[in-house]
């Protein structure tokens, strides 16, 4: 890990709430993210791990300023030491601050892959850079001329990453970049993120897959019910005693490699869910 690097993104006490209709006319406010703080430095990969509904995708959307209309947020976001307000966001979004989205449907289905990477520009320099980047991700000229539906899952992810990194970003936010991918392909995608970090950018990796996060990230933030319950070095997960929170300890025990099929139970962890429901209300 590299703590000496400059801090690129700082999130201070971020809260996101959104309002939904319950049954009938009553509205309820759902506090999806509460008091979340984290930092991402250059050359660093920080993973935010949580199950569905833990608010991890909303974190990405809050940073990018693309929360749904019925949401409201509070807290401070600093990008390279400056307040990330509406104006700065417009300047850096898509250039220094990029999002690798969750789903393939973020690609324009009617545009060839190469054009999507260059964002429609046709000049010689853009095309050359596009080819450089695509070849770095193992995509040949043929892939450049294909439409999204002709690409496999793994190729689509690499196109999505290429679209993000062509602008030489300072911070890459990856929102669930691997579901639906075979473990081998997922690991290759993770290697690409490691390369991006090596190149000097910070990477915020948002995923539900703790095992994959541990393979890639320097630090892991575990999210539960919208709150960060633990932040630890990735290496700490190989030894339960280095972890503080009972839920993270249980996560650690629950990894299949730590299961004991000959014992009375696969692992001792199930009770934690009842405890967490009581403590966090979900």
């Amino acid at each position: 890990m590299d703590t000496s690097g400059k801090v690129i993104l700082e999130v201070r006490k971020l809260s996101v709430a959104f309002e939904q209709y319950g049954r009938g006319l009553k509205r309820k406010v759902i506090h999806a993210v509460e008091d979340l703080s984290l930092t991402v430095s250059e050359r660093e990969i920080v993973a935010v791990v949580g199950s569905s509904g833990s608010g991890k995708s909303l974190l990405a959307h809050a940073i990018m300023g693309i929360l749904p209309y019925n949401a409201a947020m509070n807290g401070e976001l600093l990008f390279e030491g400056r307040m990330l307000d509406g104006e700065l966001l417009r300047q850096v979004r898509g250039k220094e601050l990029v999002l690798v989205p969750q789903s393939v449907s973020y690609l324009d289905p009617l545009m060839k892959a190469g054009r999507q990477v260059t964002k429609g520009r046709k000049d010689e320099e853009s095309r050359k850079r596009c080819r450089d980047i695509l070849s770095r991700y193992g995509l040949d000229k043929e892939a450049e001329g294909k439409y999204p539906f002709q690409l496999s899952g793994g190729m689509t992810r690499r196109i999505l990453i290429s679209t993000a990194v062509i602008e030489q970003p300072r911070l890459v936010i990856a929102d669930e970049p691997t579901p639906g991918l075979h473990p081998e392909a997922a690991r290759r995608v993770m290697e690409h993120f490691k390369e991006i970090a090596k190149g000097g950018a910070g990477v915020l990796l948002i995923t539900h897959d703790l095992e994959l996060a541990l393979l890639t990230a320097d630090r892991v933030v575990v999210l539960y019910g919208g709150r960060a319950i633990e932040e630890a070095q990735a290496a700490a997960f190989s030894d339960e005693s280095q972890l503080k929170h009972p839920y993270t300890k249980a996560l650690c025990r629950s990894m299949p490699q730590n299961w004991d099929p000959s014992g009375d139970r696969l692992c001792v962890s199930g009770e934690i869910l009842a405890y967490m429901r009581k403590e966090y209300g979900r």
Binding site: S15, V16, A17, E19, Q20, Y21, L25, R27, V29, G65, L67, Y69, N70, A71, A72, M73, N74, G75, E76, L77, M83, L84, D85, G86
Partner: protein
């Protein structure tokens, strides 16, 4: 929150103000507003229906001492050449139209629901039959089929009801059939099949609950059609009998007097017919917004 100054950054989402002040942070309760307007609409329509029901006697009362009066305080819609109060005639006519509309729309929607469901669930033969009927009904011009059925059923109230009920179900049936076809491909229906559940169980427990929003919306949006067609067929003389104070009759009779400058005899009944139809349309769309899962959080 805003007072904490420089150190606190509040980011607005859309054009709305910040989180923290709960009331200001979210859009107004659109669902509540829609519901209130919907209730007002329904109250207005109900009032017209009930008032018209009790004014049936009054509406046909002739009084030659007050004939051909233009709109005034006592007779807001004026009177006609037989001295009948046009306000009461209009309300009674609309009441009649609404009641026929309710009955025919309910029958039509019922036919549509069961034929659409049966077409998919009960096998190929039923499906072919339903499709054939849909094609027949939709293939013949609406008005022509309506007149034929109404005429065959002896005109009058029941002729009109039968005519409208049997001509308006086809497009909703087609919609519901399409929806059921799609639902039948869903995972939970297939799982229920593998769990050995009967067709009836799947139709009523799995498919029907998912059709309610289409059904209710379709039902309400049938009203304006039914009302307009009732008025047209009566206007053309194939519907209700001439002594009934129906909107179609009023408009047909007014033709003679329009040329003589008695504009109020046609204008107000026509205007009110349009208003009622638009209100039904609005009510249908509101209900659709309230129960459609896609816009449920708006």
């Amino acid at each position: 929150m805003k007072t904490s100054g420089k150190s606190s950054m509040l980011k607005r989402v859309g054009s709305r103000s910040a989180y923290g002040k709960r009331k200001a942070g979210f859009p107004g309760n659109r669902r509540l507003a829609t519901t209130v307007l919907l209730v007002l609409t329904v109250c207005f329509l109900a009032a017209v229906t009930i008032m018209g029901y009790f004014w049936q006697e009054e509406a046909v009362r002739t009084d030659f001492s007050r004939k051909n009066l233009p709109p005034c305080v006592l007779y807001p819609f004026g009177t006609d050449w037989m001295g009948r109060d046009m306000f009461m005639r209009t309300i009674t006519g609309l009441s009649f139209s609404i009641r026929i509309g309710l009955l025919t729309a309910a029958v039509s929607a019922g036919i549509a629901f069961f034929s659409g469901l049966a077409a998919v669930v009960m096998g190929k033969l039923v499906n072919d039959l339903v499709l054939l009927f849909i094609d027949v009904v939709m293939g013949i011009p609406h008005m022509l089929l309506l007149i034929l059925i109404s005429f065959a059923c002896g005109r009058g109230f029941w002729g009109v009801v039968a005519g409208i009920a049997f001509t308006h179900w086809a497009s909703l049936a087609r919609l519901i059939r399409g929806e059921v076809l799609q639902l039948k491909q869903s995972q939970y229906v297939k799982i229920a099949e593998r769990l050995g559940k009967s067709r009836r169980y799947i139709a009523f427990c799995h498919l029907a609950p998912n059709l309610i929003s289409q059904f209710v919306t379709g039902l309400i949006l049938l009203f304006p059609h039914a009302i307009l067609h009732e008025a047209s067929i009566t206007f053309l003389g194939f519907g209700l009998s001439p002594e009934k104070p129906a909107i179609g009759i009023i408009l047909a009779e007014s033709m003679k007097y329009l040329a003589m400058g008695k504009w109020w005899i046609a204008l107000f009944p026509g205007l009110f017919l349009v208003v009622v139809v638009l209100l039904f349309h609005y009510a249908g769309q509101s209900v659709c917004r309230l129960i459609d899962p896609g816009s449920v959080h708006e």
